[in-house]
């Protein structure tokens, strides 16, 4: 052992640590999920109360009965609402990830961050275009199922490069998306369950599992 200055246990630990840090995005915070879920709940509440008149208007029926010109402003409000939720959720994710990275003393923008974003955006971008085509062709009842399914696929795809919970969150969203496609007309409920509730549940699990201890200590 004369040439081996360090202990083999420490060496193995260092190897494991570097392999993990260089291949997985570990700055993802459960708080991002909780925040995104809260934004989605708020967005759904706004849609239901103000845009859909407390459930008096079922969007897909309205769409089919009213002429396209009449539903134009409603469609725009719903799109604006969804985009605001998306923007708030993304800002939250960036903020909480940065916070977690700073606490851990690591950089946020690393190889694994880029890889995670790349693997997220391919299915998401495809889904976005597909949903625009659906909306353009008037298949409104399939918009929410497609959102959930493509988001779920994106998460399953990206799950390999971050915490394992993301993989299961993705599978849950895919399941909800398929159910939403079967039970059309309950789009807003499935949307709220997937983007609201599930984000909060999985976010809370991740927070309790990986972060709470550190937060109490500091």
């Amino acid at each position: 052992m004369k040439n081996n200055s360090t202990n083999p246990g420490d060496d193995l630990q260092a190897i494991r640590d570097i392999m993990e840090r260089s291949s997985r995005f570990l700055s993802l915070s459960g708080l991002s999920g909780i925040f995104a879920g809260a934004c989605a709940l708020a967005g759904a509440a706004i849609a239901w109360l103000f845009i859909l008149d407390s459930g008096n208007i079922r969007y897909d029926e309205y769409w089919h009965s009213a002429g396209v010109t009449h539903s134009f402003s409603m469609r725009n409000y719903l799109i604006l609402d969804a985009l605001l939720v998306l923007a708030a959720a993304l800002l939250g994710a960036a903020y909480f990830s940065r916070r977690k990275a700073m606490k851990a003393g690591t950089n946020l923008w690393t190889v694994s961050t880029k890889r995670l974003i790349l693997h997220l955006t391919i299915p998401l971008f495809t889904g976005g275009i597909f949903i625009l085509i659906l909306a353009y062709r008037g298949n409104i009842e399939l918009v929410v199922p497609a959102m959930l399914i493509f988001y779920g696929l994106a998460l399953v795809n990206a799950g390999k490069f971050t915490f394992g919970e993301i993989h299961y969150l993705g599978l849950t969203q895919i399941g909800l998306g398929i159910l939403a496609a079967i039970f059309t007309g309950y789009g807003l409920i499935f949307w709220t369950a997937g983007f609201g509730l599930m984000h909060i549940i999985y976010g809370a699990v991740m927070y309790l599992r990986y972060e709470r201890v550190e937060d109490i200590e500091t």
Partner: protein, 98 residues
């Protein structure tokens, strides 16, 4: 026991070289800056270790241009992967035999 010590690769005794190789085992290619950030070492230090690994054909270097900026990426060679696996197995054996 004797055999496992013989399998320990002298080239991986340095923690930095061990780190470079660990990262290149799970990433197809990495740039100089990515390695630097990951390992938290200085330019000069990293460069000298990379050179040593390259000379022993444990890693390969490819130089490309992105626009006008030179971009050097590193990847583990087959030989390097083989040596690293041997080194890992030797380390594990050492721990088990304690």
């Amino acid at each position: 026991m004797k055999n496992s010590i013989a399998n320990l690769q002298k080239v991986f005794e340095s923690r930095i070289r061990l780190g470079i190789m660990s990262a290149l085992m799970v990433n197809e290619t990495l740039t100089f800056n990515e390695l630097k950030e990951l390992l938290g070492v200085t330019d000069g230090n990293l460069a000298s270790h990379l050179k040593a690994l390259e000379q022993q054909e444990i890693i390969g270097i490819s130089k490309q241009f992105i626009g006008r900026k030179p971009n050097t990426t590193y990847k583990a060679t087959m030989h390097g992967r083989y040596l690293f696996r041997q080194h890992l197995a030797a380390l594990e054996k050492l721990i088990k035999n304690r």
